[in-house]
Amino acid sequence: AFLSSFILDSVCWEVVGVVKLWNEWCRTSSTTNVLPTDSFCLFYRLIADPTVLLCQCSCYVAEDQQFQWLEKVFGSMQKKGLQVTILSTCPVADYKTQESTLTLVSPFLKALKTKEFQEQVCCPLLEQPNIVRDLPAAVLSYCQVWQIPAVLYQCYTDVIKLDTVTIEAFKPLLSSKVLKSLAKDASESTKILKKFLTTSETHNNIYI
């Protein structure tokens, strides 16, 4: 059974991921709930290549659930030859640096990788004393301990709502080995990006 998965709580990536990568089949975690859109944690598998899985987790997984989540998800996966990529966002105010965060150009990407991950990362590594928490940290810890190559891309952004600039901050990932072959056509992505943004804008309107 599937439960939640990598933290794709970056709503930004939700757009890019769904838009750019998938044209297949998804499953919900609940057997009583038939509609895929009702579930907060969805797994997608690439029809063309069933060894590629994508997980969208739009809900918060509490700290006392994270371990069980990991055990269930990774327990049903073959670990040999497995590679994991995690995408997440975080407020730029959480970023520790010598200068003030007001002078930083955001959004920006930082990465963390496990010992076994040998490929090139698409952005600078996250410097000390910065740390990562919650489900991304739980997944990366699991991969480090069990020697699975994994990389986490964390986007520091100063915008709390869905916006194109933060979404596009993840673009460097499209040139990575893993995602290059999965990227969709650029014009289609732009169209779907626009659609997502218009939907959210109507909710922001306080005037009826």
Partner: protein, 271 residues
Amino acid sequence: MFIPCDRGGDAAAPDFKGFTLLMPAVSVGNVGQLAIDLVISTLDMTKVGYFYTDCLVPMVGNNPYATAEENSTELSINAEVYSLPSKKLVVLQIRSPFIKNKYRSFCETLLSWVKSSKCARVVLLSSSHAYQRDDEQLLGTPLRYLLTPDLEKAVGGRMKELNWKEMEKVAAYPGISDTDKVLHIPGGGITKLLFTESCSEGIQMAVLLKFCSEGDNIPDAFVLVNYLNEWLQLIKSEVSTNNNSTDPSSQWKIPSSWRLLFGNGHPPALF
């Protein structure tokens, strides 16, 4: 549970038989954890494994003891084990709080690991709320120690030589004079639980703690680690030529991860 870093081929699992296990309690001011950071950083200890558990809040980051570009990219998780065989020392560092209701489970896992790895003794660095001290405790040294009965036989004499003060027991019901005295370590996290469990399971454990408050706890960490050093002699205390006193504080190496403990730089537009 303990997972060694090197698990391939003919790499032998690390052997901790007869070693001293040094570990912190997640307690007020995080003093124990800061002191452990100083020990690992100064003695340049090697990471030998992870203590993988569902009892601690997950977190990851790059190497907190990095000294150069080359060693700064190693990933660290919330509980890791470091060792220094030349001093028969193994250190467990804990970097995040406990998940609710998981204290007991963690203590059980930890103590069973201590027994299975045949560590000679455990030294727990901890702290307790300074505001809970009674009138007598307000005077004199803020440092205390505790020994389980098994360790008392071995090193009790040394503590007397060092003129150390044992943690006092307090009345179970304050104000009523003829009640039983109990051990009370407010703000000490799992200290009391670990200590009482060790007593009943015959494990040799020493607790070293300092009374302190939340705030800038770096000086508290130095005091605690010097206290530990008086007994274990992990580093040599050199006599300072300036004031002719023995002050080893300058010999402890502050890790690179202690930068920016109190926030970022301020925006220049503020002034």
